[in-house]
């Protein structure tokens, strides 16, 4: 597994869908935050993050995702995660990310929940 995390984003109406590939650490978290803030500035009202190609998240990555979540909440937008490994799912729940961000099994479930247009 690469130590660098690749992040790609696609806009579906006012929902931004993120796909991560790799370790969400400081570098990976910063990549996600940069793209997330950019999408929020462009008026996204929901961010859906598909982490199915991510196997590891460390505490720095989590703290950055919490910052992103705080920013999302300030903007009255929503954040949803999907494709989490059981380990990352549990990590998000323990670290409090799941308190304000929804977690879905699949991307289609997440998109449906946030009301993304096709």
């Amino acid at each position: 597994m690469s130590e660098t995390c690749k992040v790609s984003v696609e806009r579906r109406g006012d929902v931004a869908v993120f796909w991560t590939d790799g370790y969400i650490n400081n570098q990976g978290g910063e990549e996600i935050a940069k793209e997330a803030y950019s999408e929020l500035d462009r008026g996204a009202r929901a961010l859906v993050m598909n982490l199915e190609k991510t196997r590891i998240v460390n505490s720095i990555g989590i703290s950055i995702l919490i910052e992103v979540l705080e920013k999302v909440m300030e903007r009255k937008a929503v954040l949803a995660f999907c494709g989490l490994t059981p380990t990352i799912d549990k990590t998000f729940r323990i670290m409090g990310l799941a308190q304000y961000a929804a977690i879905y099994s699949t991307e289609s479930e997440a998109l449906q929940a946030v009301g993304a247009s096709a």
């Binding site: 597994m1 590891i56 460390n58 720095i60 919490i66 549990k90 323990i94």
Partner: protein
């Protein structure tokens, strides 16, 4: 230059009672609460500009011994000239009013204001210092609480991870998946940028290696790894020097531990370059070392369990195959006694393992004749059983085509020379009984002397008439003929019978066998056979035997 003898932070009663002070406070807090997306220093500066009527406001933040510029409303203008040191009380310096932002006896920052529109700067300074100092203190406290909460959750996550890993590994029998699980959690919970886990290969296989962020050490390096069991190597100063005898590649700081069970190392777990939020590489802590050790212990237990489980499965598979082989071998033995008037037969074999290297068989032939054979293959277990199978097939295929016993034995020998591995041979006694003529023809290919017991009790030992089969490229055998009349008995056996030992390592021996035969000459063949087996078992008295025991009795009724 101090602006007032009034101690900074002490707001006079006149100020608090003064007209409009609540309006000013309300205005200040409204700005602070507005646009919370902006950083706090920017909002403090903005509130200060409004309340103090200043042209420019800058906020400096204290971080331990360091001072950082948090926000400057005139950042595009001329740089602000800093005082020699940040003041403990309000001063005027280079056209700016410098106000320390204190709370709870601690300075949290400093506010610099230019072009004040306020008539009473010292009172203003005290009020701003009090308000903004408290705001910064509250913000700092909030951050500390948040950090503490995060830390507590992170510790909880560690405990949960150890618990989950234990559960997960207890059901994990795929070492590759197991290695991934341990490595991912180790990297994640130590905040390392990279990590490598290597497990020694089994049965000559190369080591199994898993890495995130590149190999910290090449798989082959595991052979040089010399970290004692239970110790953790922390290398925070110079990861370029060898760690536990191995030079780790491309990292600044590392932490490594052996994966081991008592007395045996199974692998290595190493992580490197602990991250911080600001991008620095931090030292690994004793807590990190403890955590990695716990992961390594769990990995060791799981790897060992997996290995033992695999061995158990393999053993079970071999057992099943041996049982099948034994069933096949049992099919090679004669199932029915041939009916030849005046002749009794009894044959049986007792392998020491599931499958054996002994073989007996009989063949009713034309003219009321009876062929019979006892063979003993060198070696034991599956290889010997395979050779037995070969001999069985060869005899059954060649017996009708053979003119004489020597011809048959020669054909079997040629077959073995051609198709069996070197150093594999067998001894064989082949007899051909002609009851009508009271004759026994036989060839003994290196076999133990068969016992020919006469009705009167005399016993002849029928010695070998040639070499064992499959041993020499050009062996030769001689056919002998002896009388086997009414009341006579022939006993053919393998050496496992006479070489059965007791607890004193004494052998049963040929004399005891002869005596056992002689004393039972009048009994039916089956009873003689059973009695002789019973005698050998009583002699051995439960001591495990290392060779198969086979006995064939051919008895002429009197």
């Amino acid at each position: 230059m101090p602006i007032s003898p009034t101690r900074s932070g002490a707001v006079s009663e006149a100020t608090l009672r003064g007209p409009g002070v609540f309006d000013e406070l309300a205005k200040t807090f409204a700005i602070l609460r507005r646009e919370t997306e902006k950083p706090l220093p920017a909002r403090i500066a903005e509130a200060a500009l409004v309340v103090a009527g200043a042209r420019r406001a800058a906020v400096y933040l204290r971080d331990g011994d360091r001072w950082l510029l948090g926000f400057d409303s005139g950042k595009d203008g001329a740089p602000i000239e800093l005082p020699e040191s940040f003041p403990a009380s309000a001063i005027v310096h280079a056209g700016f009013l410098w106000v320390p932002l204190d709370a709870e006896g601690e300075t949290h920052g400093c506010l610099a204001l230019e072009g004040l529109g306020h008539e009473e700067p010292e009172e203003l300074a005290a009020a701003l210092g009090l308000i903004f100092g408290s705001v910064l203190a509250a913000s700092r406290l909030s951050r500390l609480v948040k950090d503490a909460e995060f830390e507590i959750k992170a510790r909880l996550l560690e405990l949960e991870s150890l618990y989950d890993l234990g559960l997960s590994l207890s059901g994990q029998l795929d070492i590759s998946a197991l290695a991934d699980e341990v490595l991912y959690r180790s990297i994640s919970l130590t905040d390392a940028r990279k990590g490598t886990l290597i497990v020694f290969g089994e049965r000559g296989a190369g080591p199994l290696a898993r890495s995130v962020g590149g190999d910290l050490l090449p798989p082959q390096a595991i052979w040089s790894w010399d970290l004692p069991e239970g110790e953790v190597a922390i290398n925070n100063d110079a990861a370029h020097v060898p760690t536990a005898g191995v030079r780790l590649s491309d990292c600044q700081k590392c932490l490594a531990v052996s994966i081991a069970v008592p007395g045996r190392r199974l692998g290595v777990l190493a992580v490197a370059d602990k991250e911080s939020r600001d991008g620095r590489v931090l030292d690994f802590t004793p807590g990190d070392a403890r955590l990695l050790s716990l992961f390594a212990n769990q990995a060791a237990a799981a790897i060992e369990t997996t290995r033992l489980h695999r061995e158990a499965i393999e053993k079970e598979r071999i057992e099943r195959e041996l049982e099948l082989a034994a069933a096949i071998q049992r099919q090679l033995l004669p199932r029915e006694l041939p009916h030849i008037p005046g002749v009794e037969l009894a044959g049986s074999t007792l392998p020491t393992r599931q499958v054996g290297g002994d073989y007996f068989d009989w063949f009713p032939l034309s003219g009321g004749r009876l062929g019979f054979v006892v063979a003993d293959v060198s070696g034991k277990g599956i290889p010997a059983a395979l050779l037995v199978s070969t001999v069985h097939a060869a005899i059954h295929l060649q017996i009708d085509a053979s003119e004489t016993i020597v011809d048959l034995v020669s054909r079997i020998d040629r077959h073995l020379q051609r198709f069996s591995p070197a150093h594999k041979f067998l001894t064989l006694f082949f007899g051909l009984l002609e009851p009508a003529a009271d004759l026994l023809r036989y060839v003994s290919a290196g076999h133990n002397p068969a016992l020919l017991a006469r009705r009167g009790g005399a016993i002849d030992r029928l010695s070998a008439t040639g070499v064992p089969l499959g041993l020499l490229p050009h062996g030769s055998w001689r056919e002998e003929t002896v009388e086997l009349g009414r009341g006579d008995l022939l006993c053919v056996y393998t050496d496992g019978f006479t070489e059965a030992t007791n607890s004193d390592e004494e052998e049963f021996g040929l004399e005891r066998l002869e005596q056992g035969v002689r004393s039972r000459l009048v009994l039916p063949a089956r009873e003689i056979s059973d009695a002789l087996y019973g005698e050998v078992a009583a002699f051995a008295a439960g001591i495990p035997q290392y060779d198969d025991q086979t006995l064939l009795i051919v008895r002429r009724e009197a």
